[in-house]
Amino acid sequence: MTRTRKPGVSRRATLAMMGAGAVTFATPRVARAQAKTIKVGMPTILSGRVAQLGTSSRNGVMLEVEKVNAAGGLAGRQIEMVIRDSKGQPQEAARVARELVNTDGCEILIDAEASSGAFAVHEVARDLGVLCLHTNSETSALTADPKQHIPNAFRTARQGVHDSIVGGSYAAAIAKTKGLKKWATCSPDYAYGRDTTGEYVTYLKRFAPDVEIISESWPKLFQPDYTEVVTKILQAKPQALYTCLWGGDLTSYIDQANIYALFSQMEVFAVNMADYTALTVVKNLPKGIHSGNRYIKTYPATPENAAWGDAYKAKYGEYPTNWSWENATAIMLLAEAAKKANSADGKKIAEALRGLTIKSPFGADGTVTMRAEDQTLVGYAIGWGTTIPQEPYVPQVQAGDWKTIFELEAEWKKSKGYT
């Protein structure tokens, strides 16, 4: 059997190609020198059901990054964002975060992941020691639980327990004046829905002790049909309904409940209503739904906030979301901290961030603060109001009182064994 040279790729050529492939693969694309630009990595969700979370987070970040770069960047270094999709899978979030730091040479992470993804990125930050700003996870434990605490991770988002305290006290005041005693709840069946509803009810009962929950519904996340839930609530005949459905789930729910005229039969408290993702999508927005503010450009009612909302709309053709302002705040804080530290070094920025107060369009009093003790954002605008079917959608927002929030939050932390 003699072997002759055959057409096609030779073994040597194959080996050479494999070798070349291996080298390309293994060479770090970016030398991690003190480059003039500073790379900021951002794992987020850009595909699937909640892709809007990622796109509006990205928009919020880019709007601010442009401003910071125009003003000279982070301590003289231009920011270059590297934004990548995690598909909402925690293992992908962890992988992407590691890749951003290890291979792409990112020196700061903006973690725009939701729920479990945020905890996965948090572990990467713990492991690599890189400065990390959580911008979308509102799960209280992320910063409140001392076991989670690491010096290089911060949160620039709302915190669940803050919302519950404000929501509970607002609802209790209305319950007392209108005599609402029988309540129903209807929230998505996952950690956020269960925890937020539980905390809300706790504070509602604390401020209005004679309130009674007569019906609970837990539709699945992303459930398309709410007929069953709506009829169940109508049969229970409550005087008020609380829901923390959000986004597309909330709008589907409202559209379907409208058919049964649910909103004329009870007071409805929907914490996630006052966000443009819900307000602009509902077909017939009922008048008088009580809602917490997520992001609306009319609250805080300041020219700065209105200008920010309009600038965003002008650039991206849609209004900002709750995620937009939370991510924009991360960049604003980074810029101020870098200025204060006069450095773009992660450790120095982290040091400067602790306790930092900055001017912000989203602040309850025009400022927001990165609280030093648990490295989470406080002082942001938080309030409740009622809807009208057209812009500005929620004309009168009653502000939450941060003094009360702090008191009750401290008490809550103690009850959880966090302090």
């Binding site: 293994a26 892709a51 293992q91 992988r95 950690a191």
Partner: protein
């Protein structure tokens, strides 16, 4: 690649009457060589990306190859194999978080738990055939997934195991060091593949192929089909669980997604990519899928579209996995060379 080429050589040399013992010795040597090559990689390439990549390949490779023991060798199309991946990740993570036992103990205990669970679930499932088997495994997977979601006090619900998995050093191995984790993952991968290959090549492995091709005939010649199926179901679960443990170590946590049906789906996807008629097909498929995933997500947000087209290409264009294609192409080349010579 080394192992692949070497194995093909080995099969060709073995001839019709393989000397089982020499072959095993040769395979041990090949496995050792592969391990040494993998372990020396970081000395040549300093890329951390490569380390992360190989660790993930180890997790997915073990998982997909163990699935192929069921799908390719026994003809059991399991849609719920991901439950054991999740069980491994959660079992190990919880053990380390709650009890603080040394890592090898937690590893052994996790495999023991997987063994028991797989035995129970397997005993119920393997009686069924084809689509019924597929759906009952899927049902059990969803049961485990729902349990993880609702048992919040133990598992953390949909937020997953938070706070990191402690990794105390043992025998001088510190798994919180990426390099150590890399070497350990390579070792687990090579040992796992070696053991699975031994299973596939053993008389028991041939029994499985017979059951796949004609279960009735197998039972007529005295094979206890149920017991054989159950055995391979449990064994495959153990390897999938090991994959889950590696993944838990890599992300320092465990998340409900690890036990969701999408993981099982990815396993099937990998098997389709790599091919189910060769032992190394799923391993190649795993590497392929991860390369595709990592490069495509870098370039576009529409990775679902790209991956979909790739799988369509394999399913409709090649009508087989990559390794099936390569092996056939190689055989054809040899034949035509023989004819000409």
């Amino acid at each position: 690649m080394t192992e692949l080429q070497a194995e093909q050589g080995a099969q060709a040399l073995d001839g019709p009457h393989p000397q089982a013992k020499t072959r095993r010795n040769r395979e041990v040597l090949i496995a050792l060589a592969v391990f040494v090559v993998l372990a020396l990689l970081p000395a040549v390439f300093s890329s951390k990306l490569l380390l992360d990549f190989v660790i993930r390949c180890a997790a997915y490779g073990l998982f997909a190859t163990s699935l192929n023991l069921l799908v390719g060798y026994t003809g059991l199309i399991s849609f719920g194999h991901g439950m054991f991946f999740g069980l491994g990740a959660y079992g190990f993570g919880l053990m380390m978080q709650k009890t603080g036992v040394p890592i090898p103990v937690a590893f052994a205990a996790t495999l023991t738990i997987t063994f028991v669970v797989a035995l129970i679930i397997g005993a119920i499932c393997v009686r069924l055939k084809e689509i019924y088997f597929a759906f009952v495994t899927l049902a059990f997977q969803m049961l485990i997934h729902s349990t993880i979601l609702s048992w919040v006090s133990l598992t953390g619900g949909d937020q997953g195991l938070r706070g990191g998995i402690p990794r105390p050093p043992f025998f001088g191995i510190d798994l919180s060091n990426q390099l150590h984790l890399y070497v350990a993952s390579c070792a687990l991968l090579v040992i796992g593949l070696f053991l699975m290959h031994q299973i596939a090549q053993s008389p028991f492995g041939y029994t499985l192929r017979m059951i796949r091709d004609n279960a009735i005939r197998a039972s007529f010649i005295g094979i206890d089909v149920w017991r054989a199926k159950l055995t391979i179901f449990v064994l495959a679960a153990l390897f999938a669980s090991t994959g889950g443990i590696i993944m838990a170590l890599f992300v320092s946590g465990a998340y409900p997604e690890f036990a969701y049906w999408t993981i099982s789906g990815e396993g099937i996807f990998i098997n389709m990519l790599g091919g189910v008629t060769t032992f190394l097909g799923p391993m190649v498929g795993a590497v392929l899928l991860l390369i595709l995933n990592d490069t495509v997500t870098r370039l576009t947000d529409y990775h679902g579209l790209v991956l979909g087209i790739v799988i369509l290409f394999f399913a409709i264009g090649l009508r087989k996995g990559l390794m099936d294609f390569v092996v056939e192409w190689y055989a054809q080349r040899r034949n035509s060379a023989g004819e000409r010579g």
